[in-house]
C-alpha cells in the first residue's frame, strides 16, 4: 500500500489531524517527564541505607530537670543515667541488642561536619580538594550487631575505645570508622584503614580503623548522603537516643513495652509512645513520604493523560470512519480486502502519531530543560524519550484498532447507498 492516498486524505481534514497530533505531542512531553520523575523518586526510595532494617526501632527521650551537661559532674551524672537506660533495655526479653546513637540513616535530626586528609585551620571545610562534608554517628561498640551494617575493611570499635562527653563539646576522636563512600572520595587509590582524617578542621588526627559498606546520612544530608564518620562515643545531654534490635518478629511487642521499662528506671522524662518510639519502617516512610507522594501523583496524571488521549483517538477516528463509509464501500467494491481497510486506518494513525511524536520529543526536551533550570531536575536520558515515543505510537495503534475494525466491516454495498 502506498502512503500517498493517506496523506491526500489527511489534507482534507487538517484541523482534526493537527488536534490529534498536538494531543499526542503534549501527552508525550508530559508523560516522558512525569515517568522520569517517577523513576527518579523510586530509585531514590529504593537505595539501601546499609542497615538491616527489620526488627529495628529508635527511642528518642528527654530527661526533665536533667543535670547540666556543660559541667563535668553533670556529664558524668547524665552518662550514668544513660547507662541505666541501656542496661534496662538490654534486659528486655524481646531485645537482642541496643546501642546509643545521636541519629540514624534517614532520621530528621543529625549532626554534620567536615573531614579532610590534611590538618585543618579550625574551620569547617568540606568543599576544597581532599575534604568532604560528612554526617556523624556517635555510638558504641554495640552499633555493629544492632544496626547491622557491614564492615568491609579493618574492624569496628571494641568497648574500651568508647568515650563519653557532653554533646556540646568538640572533642577529637582518636579512632573512627568511615563509610566506603567517604573512603573512596578521600583515599581514591589506597586503603583507608590505617590512614588518618582531620575532623571539623581539627589539627589533631583521627585514625581510621575500619570501613563500613554503607551508612546513609540523615534525610536532609542529601548532597553527602554516603559520607559518614562513626565516632565511638556516648554524647551526654538532656536527651538521649537508643537504637534497639529485637528478636525476629518481636519489634512491635518490644516497642510497646519500652515506655513502662524506661519510666520504671526514671519517671522524670518525656517519652511519648508515638513520637519517642519509632520503628525504622516509620522513619523510612516519613523520610520518603514526599518522594512517594510525588511518584503517585505523577502516576495518576499519566494514567489520566493516556486514557484521555486514547479515548480522543477512538472518538475522532470513529467520526472519520462514519464520514467515509461511502468511500470505504467504494474501495471494498473495487476489490480492497477487509485487511486493507484495517491497515489503511492503522497506517493513517501511525502517520499522525509519528508527526505528533516528533513535535512531542521537542516539547519533552524543552519541558525537561525548563524543569532543570527552575527546579533542579536532572537531564532526561534519551532512552527514556524513545521509550515514551514507542509508548505513544503503541497507544495510538491500540486506540485506533476498534474504529478501524469497524471500518473494515463496512460492506461494499455501502457504496451504492446515498447516506
Amino acid at each position: 500500500m502506498t502512503l500517498h492516498p493517506i496523506f491526500a486524505a489527511l489534507r482534507k481534514h487538517k484541523a482534526g489531524v493537527v488536534l490529534i497530533a498536538l494531543q499526542i505531542a503534549l501527552t508525550l512531553a508530559i508523560v516522558c517527564n512525569a515517568l522520569f520523575i517517577i523513576g527518579q523518586r523510586i530509585q531514590n526510595v529504593n537505595r539501601p541505607t546499609g542497615l538491616i532494617e527489620d526488627n529495628l526501632f529508635l527511642i528518642s527521650q528527654q530527661w526533665v530537670g536533667a543535670p547540666d551537661a556543660d559541667k563535668p559532674a553533670g556529664a558524668e551524672q547524665l552518662d550514668a543515667m544513660m547507662k541505666e537506660d541501656l542496661a534496662a533495655l538490654r534486659n528486655m526479653p524481646d531485645v537482642s541488642s541496643v546501642t546509643p546513637t545521636n541519629s540514624l540513616p534517614l532520621y530528621t535530626s543529625s549532626r554534620a561536619g567536615s573531614a579532610g586528609i590534611n590538618p585543618g585551620n579550625g574551620t569547617y571545610d568540606g568543599l576544597s580538594a581532599g575534604t568532604a562534608r560528612v554526617s556523624y554517628f556517635f555510638t558504641d561498640d554495640q552499633a555493629l550487631p544492632t544496626l547491622g551494617f557491614k564492615v568491609i575493611a579493618g574492624r569496628f570499635f571494641n568497648p574500651g575505645e568508647v568515650q563519653h562527653y557532653s554533646g556540646r563539646e568538640e572533642r577529637t576522636a582518636s579512632v573512627i570508622v568511615i563509610t566506603r563512600g567517604l573512603a573512596e572520595k578521600l583515599f581514591p587509590d589506597k586503603g583507608a584503614v590505617g590512614q588518618v582524617l582531620y575532623l571539623d578542621g581539627a589539627s589533631t588526627p583521627s585514625a581510621v580503623i575500619g570501613v563500613v559498606d554503607r551508612l546513609q546520612g540523615a534525610v536532609w544530608a542529601k548532597t553527602f548522603a554516603w559520607n559518614a564518620v562513626v565516632v565511638p562515643a556516648r554524647l551526654n545531654s538532656n536527651y538521649s537516643r537508643y537504637a534497639v534490635r529485637t528478636k525476629p518478629g518481636r519489634r512491635d511487642a518490644a516497642m510497646k513495652a519500652v515506655p513502662s521499662v524506661l519510666f520504671g528506671v526514671n519517671p522524670m522524662r518525656v517519652l511519648d509512645d508515638e513520637e519517642s518510639v519509632k520503628s525504622f519502617e516509620q522513619i523510612r516512610a516519613h523520610a520518603y513520604q514526599s518522594d512517594l507522594g510525588m511518584a503517585i501523583l505523577m502516576g495518576v496524571v499519566c494514567i489520566i493523560l493516556i486514557g484521555v488521549t486514547a479515548a480522543g483517538i477512538v472518538g475522532l477516528t470513529s467520526f472519520w470512519v462514519g464520514q467515509r463509509r461511502k468511500q470505504i464501500g467504494v474501495r471494498r467494491a473495487l476489490g480492497a480486502r477487509k485487511i486493507d481497510i484495517l491497515h489503511y486506518f492503522q497506517l493513517e494513525n501511525l502517520a499522525i502519531a509519528c508527526g505528533g511524536a516528533a513535535i512531542g520529543i521537542l516539547l519533552a526536551l524543552m519541558l525537561n530543560f525548563w524543569l532543570m533550570r527552575n527546579f533542579g531536575m536532572d537531564r532526561i536520558p534519551v532512552p527514556w524519550v524513545l521509550v515514551g515515543v514507542a509508548a505513544v505510537l503503541l497507544l495510538g495503534q491500540f486506540a485506533v484498532f476498534v474504529p478501524a475494525r469497524r471500518a473494515s466491516n463496512v460492506p461494499p454495498v455501502a457504496a451504492t447507498r446515498t447516506v
Binding site: 484541523a15 482534526g16 488536534l19 490529534i20 498536538l22 494531543q23 503534549l26 501527552t27 508530559i30 517527564n33 512525569a34 520523575i37 528527654q62 526533665v64 530537670g65 536533667a66 556543660d70 579550625g122 574551620t123 569547617y124 568543599l127 557532653s166 556540646r168 563539646e169 568538640e170 578542621g201 545531654s237 538532656n238 519517671p267 522524670m268 522524662r269 518525656v270 511519648d272 513520604q289 514526599s290 512517594l292 507522594g293 510525588m294 503517585i296 501523583l297 505523577m298 495518576v300 496524571v301 489520566i304 493523560l305 486514557g307 484521555v308 488521549t309 479515548a311 480522543g312 472518538g315 475522532l316 470513529s318 467520526f319 472519520w320 464520514q323 524543569l371 527552575n374 527546579f375 447516506v419
Partner: protein
C-alpha cells in the same frame, strides 16, 4: 434572548444523540479541571500570605557573619539566621518600631496533676514585642512586659491547647507551669492561632508544621536557664569555648529575627543602620569583609527561603498540562461533532439564521458540556483534596481545603476552558456553506 432556551434544548438533544462522545468530553474536562484544581488547592494553601494586612511591613534582617570564603552557591547571600552576638546587638539598638529575636525550643512540661507523665511542647523564646509584632490573639491575660524582658522574669505565654491540657481550659493567668523542671508564671493564654506558613521562623519549622507553638518564654530568661535551641545551628567553625556559653560567643547562627517597619523611610533608615552595624563590625575586626546585609519584607523572605516546595509547583504545572491536553482533546471531539451536523447547519443557514446565531447555538452546547464537566470535576476535586493526605506531608495536606471560592473557580474554569476549546469548532461550523450542504443531501 428567547433563543437561548431553544439552543439549550438543541444542545441537550445533540448531547443525547452521540452519548459516547459527550461522556468522553465531560470526563476529559472533569479530569483535567479536577487535577488542576486539586493541585491548585495545595499551591494556594502553601503560597498564601499568612498575615496579608501586615506582611509588607514585616522585615527579616540578615547580616553576613561568615564572609565570602564560606559561600557555597556564589550568590553572595548571607546566612538565613543571626548569631547570638548580632541578634543581641540589634535588640539593644532597638531601631525598629517592634522587633524580636527568637529561637525555637522543644521543652518538657510537667503536668500539675498527679500521675501524668511529662510531655514535650514546641515553642519559641521571644521578646515581649513579639506578640504585637505577629498580632498573636490573646484569650486571657496579655504578653509579658518589656520590664519582664529586662528582669528575665520567669513568665510564660501558653497556647489555648496547652491551657486545656494543663488547666482544663480555665483562665490560668497567675498559675504556674513547670518547664524543664523550673516554674514559670502564666501571664497570657493565646486564642486559637496557627499561622501557616509559620512566617516568623520558617528557617526552623520548614514553613509548615502540624503542631502549632504551645509555649513562649522570655528570650533572655531562656538563655540564662540554658534552654537549648531545638532548631538548626550552623557554624563555619566549631565554637572555641565548650557548652552553651561557647555557642553564645561563637559565630554560629541559630537565631531568627523579625522587625516591623511602617514606611519606606523607616525601611531605608533600618537598612542604613544594618549597613553601618556591619561596617562597625568590620572596623572592630570581627568581620574581615565588606558589609553584606539584606532586609527583605515578609513575602520576599518567604520566596527566598523557598517555602513553597518545588514539588508543589511542578505538580501544578503538570496538572495544568493535563488540562491543556484534555482541552485539545475536547476541541477535536467538538469539531467532529459539530461538522457531523453540517446538514443541520446548512438548513438553519438557508432558512435565514445568521452566522452569529450559529455561534450562539454551538457555544451554548460547548458551555453546557463545560458545565457538566465542571460538575463532574467538582466531585473529582473533592476526592482529590481528600486524597492529597495520602501523597503529601501532613502539615501541607491539611491546609488544602475545598471552599466556596475554589468551588466557583472550578466551575468557571471548566466552562471557560470548554468555551475556548469550542471556539475553533464553532468557527468552522459557522463557515458551513448552506447551498453545498443542501445539494449534497
Amino acid at each position: 434572548m428567547n433563543m437561548l432556551g431553544y439552543y439549550l434544548e438543541l444542545a441537550m438533544r445533540s448531547m443525547k444523540r452521540s452519548r459516547g462522545l459527550t461522556v468522553l468530553m465531560v470526563f476529559a474536562i472533569g479530569f483535567g479541571v479536577a487535577a488542576s484544581m486539586t493541585t491548585y488547592s495545595v499551591f494556594r494553601a502553601v503560597s498564601g500570605d499568612p498575615i496579608p494586612w501586615k506582611s509588607s511591613r514585616l522585615f527579616v534582617p540578615q547580616i553576613d557573619a561568615w564572609g565570602p570564603s564560606t559561600q557555597r552557591d556564589g550568590d553572595n547571600e548571607p546566612v538565613n539566621a543571626l548569631s547570638y552576638i548580632d541578634a543581641m546587638a540589634l535588640m539593644r539598638d532597638h531601631r525598629a518600631k517592634l522587633q524580636s529575636a527568637m529561637y525555637i525550643i522543644w521543652s518538657s512540661v510537667v503536668p500539675t496533676r498527679q500521675g501524668g507523665h511529662p510531655f514535650n511542647v514546641s515553642g519559641h523564646a521571644v521578646y515581649s514585642e513579639f506578640f504585637p509584632l505577629v498580632e498573636a490573639p490573646f484569650k486571657y491575660g496579655s504578653a509579658w512586659s518589656a520590664d519582664d524582658d529586662r528582669q528575665r522574669s520567669a513568665v510564660a505565654v501558653i497556647s489555648s491547647k496547652l491551657n486545656t491540657k494543663l488547666f482544663g481550659g480555665e483562665n490560668s493567668v497567675g498559675k504556674t507551669v513547670n518547664v524543664e523542671g523550673r516554674n514559670y508564671r502564666v501571664v497570657g493564654v493565646l486564642d486559637a492561632w496557627n499561622p501557616q506558613p509559620v512566617f516568623y521562623d520558617v528557617q526552623n519549622t520548614g514553613g509548615f508544621s502540624t503542631a502549632a507553638d504551645d509555649l513562649f518564654l522570655p528570650f533572655d530568661r531562656a538563655i540564662e536557664s540554658g534552654v537549648p535551641n531545638d532548631g538548626n545551628t550552623n557554624c563555619t567553625k566549631p565554637p572555641k569555648d565548650p557548652g552553651f556559653v561557647g555557642l553564645l560567643r561563637s559565630s554560629c547562627v541559630w537565631i531568627s529575627y523579625l522587625a516591623q517597619l511602617d514606611d519606606a523611610q523607616a525601611v531605608s533608615a533600618y537598612r542604613g543602620y544594618l549597613e553601618n552595624y556591619a561596617h562597625e563590625q568590620q572596623k572592630a575586626g570581627r568581620f574581615n569583609w565588606a558589609p553584606n546585609i539584606r532586609l527583605r519584607d515578609l513575602p520576599a523572605w518567604l520566596e527566598s527561603q523557598e517555602v513553597v516546595p518545588s514539588d508543589t509547583k511542578v505538580s501544578l504545572l503538570v496538572a495544568v498540562g493535563l488540562l491543556v491536553v484534555c482541552l485539545v482533546n475536547t476541541s477535536g471531539l467538538l469539531l467532529a461533532k459539530f461538522l457531523r451536523r453540517s446538514g443541520e447547519i446548512g438548513v438553519r443557514r438557508a432558512l435565514g439564521a445568521s452566522r452569529f446565531a450559529i455561534y450562539a447555538q454551538f457555544l451554548t452546547e460547548a458551555g453546557m458540556i463545560g458545565l457538566s464537566g465542571g460538575v463532574l470535576g467538582l466531585a473529582f476535586t473533592g476526592f482529590g483534596v481528600l486524597g492529597v493526605g495520602m501523597v503529601l506531608p501532613k502539615g501541607i495536606a491539611k491546609l488544602a481545603t475545598l471552599d466556596m471560592p475554589l468551588l466557583f473557580l472550578t466551575l468557571a474554569l471548566a466552562v471557560f476552558s470548554t468555551l475556548v476549546a469550542g471556539l475553533y469548532p464553532t468557527f468552522r461550523a459557522s463557515r458551513v456553506q448552506p447551498a453545498w450542504q443542501l445539494k449534497s443531501n
